[in-house]
Symmetry: C2
Subunit: 270 residues, 2 copies
């Protein structure tokens, strides 16, 4: 297993590489795994989301336990929506409530698949070798918007706001997701704790099947869907999502709104 | 009014600029309107989609006539999904049927808004000045997938396949959409002919309202939604969408599938 991060240097430059004993061993990119020779002390760098996806494919209803609770049949093909690149933030960066929205904002702790090379119509075997590694995703959702319009479920809007796709803190390659669990804590209290081997479509199946639909590019992320225990985040609360072997993704819901408006409505709504 | 195109030069380089009398006057980019000094004969260049959007925001139910036909109320906020960057092709490029899908593939002729600069939480006035120009979009849809799963309408999947977002042939700045009509022809027969002034949300309203949800970047495209007359494309048929003042976007549905499989199932299904 190797741990990979993307960080900002003091001069504003972005570096990517392998983390070892407090140092970043810089590489040209996740789709171009050539060491640059630079070895930088992590303490001088500011963490970013560990990749810069062009798109995030987010799955719905991909865990047997959640399907049973929702009383929905398990799907026969991954059911997904797209979250835009602009929704991505890293760990320790605040989630911002949209200025116009006072309703429930939900956390969803998820495993993230990071694509290592372009995939189009790939087999499950090719898909496996196209996965660069795994990360953690908080698939933040303005839950009140999903069904606001009874004629059109607003999946992309409710999940696509700026800052609504938290990814990090690192990507781990060679990670065995089968024995891992996703543990989500809200202000320290455990809210989700589910095993990844309850997934309906495995990561390799997801990459293969989704690649029959649209071309996946290096750095793209698939959020594998969540399971039981999703809940609401109050203003100022911190969501920590941990997967042993990857780390902990931590994000606070800001007490100010996206435009700097104090979030009083949110406090009463949450 | 100026007409802008993006084309490939014989050396594989991509050029963007203003078209006049058979020549391209090259500019640095649509978000950086500085002439490079190069003036290239168009006959030496191959047209591409006129911009390279990071995302395409596609509206549903944005015309009064269509809402009435569907017997749906007019929405109070733009209802949208996202089409990925990889779905974009230019004019005169074939639409490819996904290898696994034998159902109906529909055309939807639409006005496209091309964003000229980053927009986040912009007013309607700011939105207006953030619009670089207008283009034509064929919002191609694998109609049979939309409702294939009764628990999750697959908007992103049905409209997100590679080649399912035809954009072009050009962007026209200073274009007056209010007096224009969208005319769609299938193998020469008129199928859509609707006035753009029947739109529910005007382009400036769309940009302003959507920018409250997610940041729009230069080059992003908003497909304004379609109106009456949407229909199915058979294998080998050509869809031409014309907006007077912009031009004609023309795309054939290939007789082969995405992976080069002969499209026999499609011919019987269409």
């Amino acid at each position: 297993m190797n741990t990979w991060m993307r960080l900002m240097a003091p001069d504003g430059g972005i570096v990517f590489g392998r983390v070892e004993n407090g140092y970043l061993h810089e590489y040209a990119g996740l789709d171009q795994l050539v060491p640059t020779g630079a070895v930088l002390p992590l303490r001088t760098l500011s963490p970013l989301a560990p990749c810069a996806p062009g798109k995030v494919v987010a799955l719905w209803n991909n865990f047997h336990a959640l399907a049973a609770k929702l009383e929905k049949p398990v799907p026969t093909h991954p059911l997904f929506l797209l979250k835009p690149a602009g929704s991505v933030i890293g760990s320790d960066t605040p989630i911002l409530r949209p200025a116009h929205y006072a309703g429930k904002i939900a956390f969803e702790g998820e495993l993230g698949i990071v694509i290592g090379k372009r995939c189009s119509n790939v087999s499950e075997e090719e898909a496996q070798s196209s996965i660069f590694g795994y990360t953690i995703v908080n698939d933040v959702t303005a839950a009140g918007l999903l069904t606001e319009n009874p004629h059109f479920p607003q999946w992309c809007r409710a999940k696509g706001f700026d800052t609504f796709c938290c990814i990090g803190p690192a990507i781990v390659s060679g990670f065995d997701w089968r024995s891992a669990r996703v543990v989500t804590r809200l202000d320290g209290g455990e809210r989700q704790n589910y095993p990844l081997d309850d997934m309906v479509f495995t990561p390799a199946q997801q990459v293969s099947l989704i690649s029959q639909d649209l071309t996946l590019e290096a750095g793209d992320v698939i959020a594998c869907g969540t399971s039981l225990g999703v809940g609401s985040i109050g203003a100022g609360a911190t969501v920590e999502i941990a997967i042993e072997g990857i780390g902990t993704l931590s994000n606070i819901l800001a007490t100010e709104r996206a435009e700097g408006v104090p979030d009083t409505a949110a406090q009463s709504a949450a």
